[in-house]
Amino acid sequence: MTTPLKALGLVIALTLAPTVAAASPNYPDAVQAAAGSPCPPPCTVCHESSSGGYGTAVKPFARAMAKVGKLDAEDSALVAPAIEALKAQATDSDGDGTGDIDEVAAGHDPNRRGEGDLCGPEYGCGARVDPGQRVDGWALLLSVLVALSLVARGRRRRR
């Protein structure tokens, strides 16, 4: 085996051999499900910035959550009991007269007095990729054949 092929083999072994990990914990989805918000809230509803990170969940809503629940970044199942506890206590972190969970459910930021916007901007230009769309096998095969013939023609011309 030549050296470059050995190198390729080593790289593939290092990067692709391990199995794919399980789904990641997902706090925004867990908050949406538990509080009934119209969107998964952004990371910044709890964290200092959208990058997240331990020790950066310093927003009033995050501190209120931590006070009533045992939270673990790797276990999103702990979110729902904390949300329920906040709801039961009618906690109002920003002191605007509306409880945190009611604000989240209405799509408002529980850290900001007044309504705020929990869902933020919409991304993309509007069209959607249909998740249920079947790939037509014949169309795919035809596309590949056309592409290969174009490449072959290009290489013949070069010679």
């Binding site: 989805d29 952004p42 910035s49 331990y54 900001r112 901007p121 993309g124 490449v151």
Partner: protein, 439 residues
């Protein structure tokens, strides 16, 4: 043809895996070879993505491991202080300039660029007016004992040049999650959370304003000209200034100058029209200017100022003024070593003043194998707003520090493997590995 059929399954296999997002490469450390400017190797005047034909050749000659064949990087630096090597090696459209010698022609004679340096490993010869490229990147992270693998990037990009008129851009596929800090700002389609979406990071029309192609006027979605154009989009200097090449591009008009001793770009930012409503769009300007003190030392300054009616990151609904102002440098005191550094002051409405900076060392152990060390610091300023005052924390009112140790191996034509050990204050230690294939 045989090479093509050998390459196709590999490319297709990676394509099927590549479903999320990140941007491509721009190697500021090429200043070690006297390449201070970017237009020599990239079609974007400020670097990144699509390579020129000359850039492809240099990637093969200077970057990748050559396994015993004559290498250029290992050769002593040419004894010259001339700037001839900076921006004079444009590919065919830049023929008006007098041809200048390559940095190490002796090595090129000994082992020239392989035919596989071309697009799709040489399987498809682009016509002169066309430059094509693409990036497929997969990654794995080891964090808190949890191993994850995820596809990062599947982009196709290119440029068409008809006389002084140019058209460029990129399309790709991503899968992002709601609330994710990266990727979404470049979406074209609007699928649900976690679904496959089309992304276009850049798309633009350009006009060369002079015969030497030193002045380029572009309009469209462009990389924001600010600071060092590095490949690490999660590095705090890029993240905190919102100037990465992953999805922070903006629509607008930009004028770039690529001279021998000076380069720079000024962009009038009209906002990101791939997100809405309009109140979240930032408008303003951004610029950088970089001067070459010698063939191995460049010093620059950047300035950015934008206004939006709401902050799309914090979702604050008030008028949001954002600014970043700083200095950066690239210096190669010895051929194998490159030092890159950037420091910026940050200001944002409803926040105290802040700063962000980094210093990065890149050492080329042997051609194709790089070791790196990076230190970074961030204090984005403590938030002040309509709610209760937030306590100072690392990164928000107090300094937050981070460090990276990096190994990069350009092991085959168009292929590199990178491993980063990342330790950041208030973040779990992360081991990140990336396999990158460019077409």
């Amino acid at each position: 043809m045989g090479l093509f059929f050998r390459a196709v399954p590999f490319v297709l296999a990676l394509s099927t895996l590549a479903l999320t997002t990140r941007s491509a490469h721009a190697y500021g450390f090429m200043i070690r070879h006297g390449y201070g400017g970017c237009t020599t190797c990239h079609t974007d005047p400020s670097g990144g993505e699509t390579l020129t034909r000359y850039g492809r050749a240099q990637s093969d000659l200077l970057l990748r491991m050559r396994y015993g064949k004559a290498t250029v990087s290992a050769a002593p630096a040419p004894a010259t202080e001339s700037f001839d090597g900076f921006d004079d090696f444009g590919d065919s459209p830049k023929a008006e300039k007098p041809p200048a010698p390559a940095p190490a022609p002796e090595a090129e004679d000994a082992a020239g660029p392989a035919s596989s340096s071309g697009f799709l490993w040489g399987a498809f010869a682009e016509p002169d007016f066309m430059s094509l490229g693409g990036s497929l990147r997969s990654a794995s992270t080891l964090k808190n004992g949890d191993f994850r693998w995820f596809p990062m990037q599947a982009d196709f990009y290119g440029q068409l040049a008809f006389g002084s008129l140019r058209v460029g851009g990129s399309v790709g596929l991503v899968k992002t999650r709601a609330g994710a800090p990266h990727g979404r700002a470049a979406l074209v389609t609007r699928g649900d959370d976690g679904q496959l979406n089309m992304v276009s990071r850049t798309h633009w029309l350009g006009l060369d304003l002079d015969s030497r192609r030193e002045l380029l006027l572009r309009a469209g979605r462009l990389n924001v000209p600010f600071g060092l154009r590095i490949s690490e989009h999660v590095m705090w200097v890029r993240e905190a200034t919102h100037t990465d090449r992953e999805s922070d591009q903006q629509h607008g008009v930009a004028l770039a100058y690529s001279g021998e001793k000076l380069r720079g770009e000024l962009m009038a930012i009209a906002g990101n029209y791939q997100l809405g409503p309009d109140r979240y769009r930032e408008r303003g300007y951004s610029l950088y200017l970089e001067a070459f003190a010698s063939s191995s030392l460049a010093v620059g300054a950047s300035h950015l100022f934008t206004v939006a009616q709401a902050d799309r990151y914090s979702l604050d609904q008030g008028e949001t003024l954002r600014g970043a102002h700083g200095l950066f440098t690239r210096w190669s005191p010895l051929r194998p070593l490159v030092v890159m550094a950037e420091a910026n002051a940050l200001h944002l409405s409803r926040r105290d003043l802040g700063y962000v900076g980094f210093v990065q060392l890149d050492y080329e152990l042997t051609q194709g194998l790089h070791l790196g060390a990076t230190g970074e610091a961030l204090d984005a300023g403590r938030a002040r707003g309509a709610g209760p005052d937030q306590p100072k924390s690392a990164g928000a009112g107090e300094p937050r520090l981070g460090g990276w140790l990096t190994a990069s191996w350009f092991f085959l034509p168009h292929c590199d493997l990178r491993v980063d050990a990342i330790a950041r204050q208030n973040e779990a230690f992360t081991l990140l590995s990336q396999l990158h294939v460019f077409l």
